[in-house]
């Protein structure tokens, strides 16, 4: 039967709330729906009245620019944030028990909402989880010092039977974890500590975690941002299977081709307002981009003319031996050139460049020669790299990139701080540089007073870019620079990087995004198991060629 | 007091003359509190000195000196003295009386000759020798001096040590001496046998009370702090201070006729030497020396101060 709980202000609001546009009224087969949802942080309203409904067995994508409010919306849906206004309906239990309730005694039933209306106060994440609504956060939500299996079952640990029910059933948890990971074609050992996993593996653990929870509604907030195509494919396989079982899936991504591939319906939001809800089949990728950005986009990848043969060498690396790699590595980079490093996850791109810039010790006893603009330099600390005009942007923005509990200006200036300081820090200069960067990088926040952790994921990435580029480096190394960035901003960033190259800076892009590599690079170095397997240029740069080197099918002509 | 000095003298001469080779090595365990404040520092100093002297004079004698920072640490020390050093005799100045009663009894049951110093155990019949300081007496002597000096009426403040039995006994002795007089104790506060706390507490007393005729600081470390506070407030003229213990700095002042500290009350840390010597005497010569040796707390005045002034002692 229908249970009705009505919160204070909602009585009158509900009558006749049938929101006809785009068929967004909570219909009988809605698993989870909201109407007129508003959410504010402090005095700042972030969502201005969103209608959204998730049907059983559908993949419903949410599309929007960075900071549009996607994460906020799904956090409200999953009970992680309390909404300020609006109604929320859940219907997971009836759906799965197969009972489709008819009329109730209230007006809501007359509205054909066979779901339960839940007050904001009651919709805690625990309640949501009990109702089978599971959210994978955009930012990781793992206990670093615990193992994979321990994380997967955190909060819902398995225990033995009988007397053994006092104790954890570790073996079963490990076995099941291994099974869940296998479903995702992921081979990490469930006993590994999460702190030692790569970001991609952490994401796989996050996904595996949901499998342990038997979700009716699965919400994935940018799960593929840190995954490679192969891992993404495994995820989509899983999504297809769950959809077939009637699970409702909310999927957020900035990769439009993924949305095209997997979504049934698409809800677009812009600046906290609902743009509309559309059947996926009716939208092309260009439509999607236009709807979310609200204007026509210029071409995504700007044309950067390859540097002239005579352009001087900006960076030259000889015999750099990364700890753990089998052989030393050498390469060159010319001014005005964009060199991309591609490869599978864990192929050693990050390790190579972190070692180069002095963030990690090289293999002990190894000798390398590094020339910057023709002068030999020793980069034993990251500060040496900075002093030689090199900037390196980490791919782990949460763990190593930003101080999440500190203000935006403080974060922005941390790397380039000396530029703003004589004896004391010139906060005025700092502030104006920050204001300029907010402009340049289009960092969007509703309130400049927020801490970095409260920025939307994409805007955190932009802030990180701004931070590392503030020193105006001549050699820019960016590791996964557009991770989690919306298509509009991506294009901005590509144009920005292109301008840098055009101005004679040398760029290295470490990326798992194949189209980015192909679209931007003059040359592509493909890494395999810690070393460069091959370097492609011009017409050789194709997805096929890159994959052949990356997977070890083809090795560098020795 | 006469009995005590004579005995010490007798003991020392005997030991220095001890030539009779001992048949088997004898071990005396000495367990005292660590040097955590002035008086205990003096105690440690005298114990070290006496150990060197006894061992030097008696090749067959071994003195093991251990120090503790708490009652339970001292109980550990006793166990170690029994289990490891297999001591024949124990000289102990208990950190606190009650908690060490059991552990000392255990040692005693193993046939160890027990000399207790200063703080009596809470059970009678355990010790063979008791060299007793007399805390109540010390308080009483101080109280009586203040009462007399003030002609039976005046306002005083009291700075106490730490909340322990010793402090209680001294304080009670002091208060009983004042009984019936018109000497009014304005307030008493703990100063933890510590110079800094003595200074701070006295500063506050001086702010609080516009009229103070005398201060009982109970301990010379506290007295040092009190002196500085009084000087800072420039109220030297109106009051005097009675400390306690016999610290050389204070005794020197008494000797020099400092009006601020006209007297001191002796509570000698050298009592440990007496106890160690008596015990050694017992071990070596088997002289019957069981019993109690109560040390007095004489008033140190300008006249007799020279007898109590030991410039080389750390206390």
């Amino acid at each position: 039967m229908v249970q009705v709980t009505i919160d204070d202000a909602s009585n009158t609001a509900i009558a006749g709330t049938a929101h006809e546009s785009h068929g967004n009224t909570p219909p009988r087969d809605s698993l989870l729906a909201v109407q007129k949802l508003k959410k504010s942080y402090g005095d700042i309203e972030v969502l201005h009245g969103i209608d959204f409904a998730l049907r059983r067995g559908e993949v419903h994508a949410i599309l929007g620019e960075n900071g549009a409010g996607k994460s906020t919306l799904v956090k409200c849906l999953a009970g992680f944030e309390a909404r300020n206004e609006g109604q929320l309906y859940v219907n997971t239990k009836q759906e799965f028990s197969g009972a489709d309730s008819g009329a109730g005694s209230s007006t809501i039933a007359d509205n054909a909402v066979s779901a339960q209306l839940i007050t904001a106060k009651d919709w805690t994440h625990a309640a949501a989880e009990a109702a089978g609504v599971v959210l994978i956060h955009q930012e990781f939500n793992l206990a670093e010092q615990l193992s994979v299996a321990e994380n997967i079952f955190l909060g819902s640990e398995l225990r033995g039977r009988g007397l053994a029910s006092l104790f954890l059933d570790k073996k079963q948890m490990i076995d099941l974890s291994r099974d869940y990971l296998a479903t995702l074609h992921c081979t990490i050992d469930p006993a590994t500590l999460v702190s030692s996993l790569s970001v991609a593996d952490k994401q796989m653990v996050e996904i595996a975690k949901t499998l342990a929870k038997d979700a009716r509604v699965l919400i994935l907030d940018e799960p593929t941002a840190v995954l490679t195509q192969k891992e993404s494919a495994a995820l989509f396989e899983l999504i297809d299977r769950l959809r077939g079982r009637g699970v409702g899936i909310i999927f957020i991504s900035h990769k439009l081709e993924e949305i095209e591939r997997i979504a049934d319906r698409i809800t677009v939001i812009r600046d906290g307002d609902l743009v509309g809800c559309y059947p996926a089949a009716t939208l092309s990728k260009d439509d999607m981009a236009r709807l979310m950005v609200g204007r026509e986009l210029s071409s995504l990848y700007p044309k950067v003319p390859a540097p002239h043969e005579s352009a001087s060498v900006a960076l030259s690396v000889h015999g750099l031996h990364v700890a753990g790699a089998s052989a030393p590595e050498s390469f060159e980079l010319r001014r005005g050139e964009i060199l991309a490093f591609s490869g599978l996850v864990g192929s050693g791109r990050t390790a190579l460049f972190e070692t180069l810039v002095g963030l990690r010790p090289a293999r002990s006893g190894s000798e390398s020669k590094i020339f910057v603009q023709g002068n030999e330099v020793r980069l034993t600390q990251f500060a040496d790299a900075r002093a030689n005009g090199i900037a390196y942007l980490t791919k782990d923005r949460k763990g190593s990139g930003l101080l999440l509990n500190k203000g935006l200006r403080e974060n922005f200036s941390l790397f380039a701080l000396a530029q703003f300081a004589g004896v004391l820090i010139d906060t005025r200069a700092e502030q104006s540089a920050f204001d300029k960067a907010v402009d340049t990088f289009d960092i969007r926040m509703r309130d400049t007073g927020v801490v970095a952790g409260n920025l939307s994921g994409g805007n955190q990435q932009k802030l990180l870019l701004a931070k590392m580029l503030e020193t105006e480096p001549d050699i820019v190394i960016v590791d996964e620079p557009t991770r989690g960035i919306d298509i509009g901003t991506k294009s901005q960033i590509y144009h920005f990087l292109a301008e840098l190259a055009a101005a004679g800076k040398a760029l290295v892009i470490l990326s798992s995004d194949m189209s980015e590599v192909i679209g931007m690079a003059h040359r592509v170095a493909v890494m395999h198991q810690g070393n460069i397997a091959g370097v492609l240029s011009g017409n050789e740069i194709t997805e096929h060629e890159i994959m052949r080197y990356a997977t070890g099918l083809k090795a560098a002509a020795a | 007091f006469a009995k005590r000095s004579m005995l010490t003298l007798a003991a020392s001469s005997l030991l220095l003359a001890a030539v009779a080779p001992t048949l088997h090595a004898q071990t005396i365990g000495v367990s005292i509190p660590a040097a955590t404040h002035g008086w205990a520092g003096g105690l440690n100093f005298h114990a070290e000195q006496t150990k060197a002297r006894l061992e030097g004079a008696n090749p067959g004698l071994k003195v093991v000196l251990v120090t503790a920072n708490s009652a339970s640490e001292q109980a550990n020390d006793l166990e170690d003295l029994v289990a490891i050093h297999r001591m024949d005799a124990l000289v102990i100045l208990p950190f606190e009386s009650a908690p060490l009663t059991g552990p000392v009894r255990n040692a005693k049951r193993r046939g160890v000759f027990v000399t207790v110093v200063d703080r009596g155990l809470s059970e009678s019949g355990i010790h063979d020798v008791y060299v007793a300081g007399n805390n109540a007496e010390m308080g009483r002597v101080s109280g009586e001096y203040i009462k007399e000096r003030l002609d039976g009426s005046g306002k005083i403040v009291v700075l106490r040590g730490m909340p322990t039995v010793i402090d209680e006994q001294r304080f009670d002795g002091f208060m009983s001496a004042l009984e019936g007089s018109n000497v009014e104790v304005l307030d008493d506060q703990y100063a933890n046998w510590n110079r800094d706390d003595g200074f701070t507490v006295m500063q506050d007393f001086l702010s609080r009370f516009s009229e103070i005729d005398a201060v009982w600081a109970q301990d010379d470390d506290i007295a040092i702090g009190v002196i500085q506070a009084v000087r800072q407030a420039r109220r030297q003229e109106e009051l005097f201070i009675v400390g306690g213990g016999g610290m050389k700095d204070i005794v020197k002042r008494v000797m020099d006729g400092d009006e601020l500290t006209p007297v001191d009350v002796l509570y000698p840390p050298s009592m440990i030497s007496t106890a160690m010597e008596l015990t050694a005497l017992k071990l070596i010569s088997d002289t019957p020396i069981e019993g109690e040796y109560i040390l007095g707390s004489p008033l140190i005045t300008r006249e007799n101060a020279e007898d109590y002034y030991f410039p080389d002692s750390p206390f």
Binding site: E144, L146, E150, E157 | S72, A98, P99, G102
Partner: protein, 322 residues
């Protein structure tokens, strides 16, 4: 494989090194009496430190344990002395005192826990405050002096400290039991798992539907219970309580925990290590009593150096792993 062993073995290596030093310094070190003394002594700090392992693993700290021990001792003694007039059976009296002790310990721990979690005051401040409070209370109860257990009763009760089973003193058995229970609780139950999670990342724990406040409060209650158990075997040893009882136990307990490999910042706790840590601390004191090579004034310095070196060796071994 060997690397993992190294990590776990860290504290053990330090322990063994000290043991060898002990043998080297004095023959009597290895005597049955001495070894059993060391074990019995380390049981106080050891038991308290096992409670502290939970608190620290969960990211908290408890500075009040020493004065809590003094307070509980005082309450037990007052209660037992009072019951002497009313109840004939010594065993009943002791039993009631033990029950009361556990209740007070749990309550005191709960107060620390609730002030930390509900009033949201930092654990360091809360327990610094309660440290002063309990110590004052026991001083007050003892009127500035010492509370002593009734003599005849004390004789009976002292069996709990001095009695032996299979050649080992009872406190050692109690220590062992507490250690085993602590190990199981921390490593094999849901509660233990949640302690790790809360210490590792509170918000993750929160989002995993773990009641963070409850877990934290529970660790303080556990700590209180451990203090109570330590007190139950402490009281028969010294038969008294005063403002000086249990002084600096908090530092010793925390040191034992950290020497054992638990991280002060939370998220990583090891009961076995804590046991070894407590033994190491006791051993250092014992070894200093074995020899007079070191001036008594320098005992503290030697202790300090050994603790630092012990942890260095251990962490060094640990680092070799990565």
């Amino acid at each position: 494989m060997t690397k993992v062993d190294f990590k776990t073995a860290g504290p053990f290596i330090a322990l063994i090194a000290l043991f060898i030093l002990g043998i080297f310094v004095n023959d009597a070190f290895l005597s049955a009496g001495n070894v059993s003394n060391i074990l019995a002594r380390s049981s106080f700090i050891g038991i308290v430190a096992i409670g502290a392992t939970f608190v620290i693993t969960t990211g908290g700290i408890d500075l009040s344990v020493g004065s809590m021990a003094a307070f509980i001792s005082g309450c037990m003694i007052l209660l037992m002395n009072a019951l002497m007039a009313k109840i004939d059976s010594f065993v009943t009296i002791i039993f009631l005192a033990i029950v009361a002790s556990a209740a007070i310990g749990a309550l005191a721990g709960m107060i620390n826990g609730l002030l930390t979690t509900k009033a949201k005051i930092e654990a360091f401040i809360v327990t610094l405050g309660t440290m002063g409070i309990y110590r004052s209370l026991v001083t007050y109860m003892a009127d500035g002096g010492t509370l002593s257990l009734n003599f005849t009763l004390g004789d009976v009760y002292s069996e709990v400290y001095y009695g032996t089973l299979l050649g080992l003193p009872y406190p050692v058995w109690v220590f062992l039991a507490v250690a085993i229970i602590g190990y199981v609780l921390l490593n094999m139950t849901v509660f233990g798992r949640h302690c790790f999670a809360v210490g590792s990342n509170e918000s993750v724990a929160h989002y995993s539907a773990i009641n963070v406040d409850r877990v934290k409060t529970a660790t303080y209650i556990l700590q209180g219970l451990c203090v109570s158990i330590a007190t139950i075997i402490y009281v028969p040893r010294l038969g008294s309580a005063s403002g000086q009882t249990g002084i600096l136990w908090e530092l010793e307990a925390i040191a034992a925990v950290i020497i054992g490999g638990t991280m002060l910042k939370g998220g990583y706790g090891r009961i076995g290590g804590t046991v070894v840590g407590a033994l190491i601390l006791t051993l250092i004191g014992n070894i200093l009593n074995l020899t007079d090579a070191v001036s008594n004034y320098l005992n503290g310095a030697v202790q300090g150096v050994i603790v630092i070196v012990a942890v260095y060796l251990q962490r060094g071994a640990w680092r070799a792993k990565n």
